[in-house]
Amino acid sequence: MSGCTATIRFTVNGDQHTVHAPPMKRLLDVLREDLHLTGAKEGCGEGECGSCSVRVNGELVNSCLVPVLQAQGATIQTVEGLAVDGRLHPLQQAFLNCGGAQCGICTPGMLMAAAQLLSINAHPTLGQIREGLAGNLCRCTGFTRIFASVMAAAVEGETESAGRATHAR
């Protein structure tokens, strides 16, 4: 059956969108091609590498494995939604400070996986960080600095929330 499209409504980074797409089109492709949000990358295309990671309804997913029909009504956050009003998210600032990004292809996915981890565990151990990011591969092999970045962001977030209780993420 060709030419069949569905009408999908969802919220991405706080903005409501309506897209017309084949229901089996991958959420990744809809984000990149229809919404021009190119932060999420295609690495393996089979859920192994995590470079397409986004958050859907508060859960981390590989957007390459989500048929867009299953995102109907969803609330989606991509890496473009991390910074607020041009102010970097503490994770992004920590990746900058600690050298957590090298070539940058894995970085959006790493940031989203780390954001997911910190949303449910504000003070992860190194082991928990390694588990939380285990589905995200860095081809530059910069894992040590990536883990250090997440650890630094967790500490930064803690001091920040102590000082600025109303800061919105």
Partner: protein, 292 residues
Amino acid sequence: MRGNAEAHEMIAPGTLPAVLELLAAAPGEWTPIAGGTELMVAHAAGKLGARRLVSLWGIRELRFIDAGADTISIGAAATFRDLRAHTGISSQLPLLAKAASWIGSIANQSRATLGGNLVNGSPAADSSPALLVYDAEVEVVSVRGRRRIPYSEFHTGYKRNAMAADELLFAVHIPLRFARHRQYLRKVGTRRAMAISKVALAATALAENGAIGEVRVAAASLAPFPARLYQTESALLGNAIDALVIDEARKALLAEAQPIDDIRSTAEYRKRVAANLLEEFLIELRREAAQH
């Protein structure tokens, strides 16, 4: 070759009765898709044969975990993240909780479902060995009604199962009678996350008065589908755990295992490692029995 999204039809009826009506009206025509962690991989590679897909994602009747006094029932569309977050499962079904933590990555666990793991029927399925040694039952549903099947009889061949074309996996029921049993599950793969098993072995056993009173052993990747190792169990049942019995059990396992050579490992490696895992479990069991 990359899959073509326009070559597939997909609908989301939104309720269980609507899905069952669809399956009944044209048995075999529609392929259920839940979290998509298997079918979307095939789609990406241009190898998804199913032309018409019916989405189970978001159907509430299928996504639940009910913890009763004697049984924990898990809806087929419960995700592995749901399983990991459930305190009843982590406390009363530790092997299943452990298996859930091994499946893919966090991103996979938030989409992959227990039902999908079983219906996909991979010989290496992560949740299967635990369910087999917990004596789980599966419940399938169609417009004709519901029926239960022992999970040990669910898989009938490589990627084949006991469901009819109009049936859908509804739930998995796990009896809570293994609290006193020694429980074991170990997976051997290339890395801790994301790795598909080379081999995995699970066991539950009771050692009473120095002898094995009840025992279940099951494995992944030793046969065309995850299965109990009945000959191995027979070699153990009623016996005291000594070096001779351990040796007999190893021999029984090596005789009934039917692994293959593939990209992940060799048949010979799988057999030897499975026998070693069995021995590790039996030594744990013997140590525990000696303390009672």
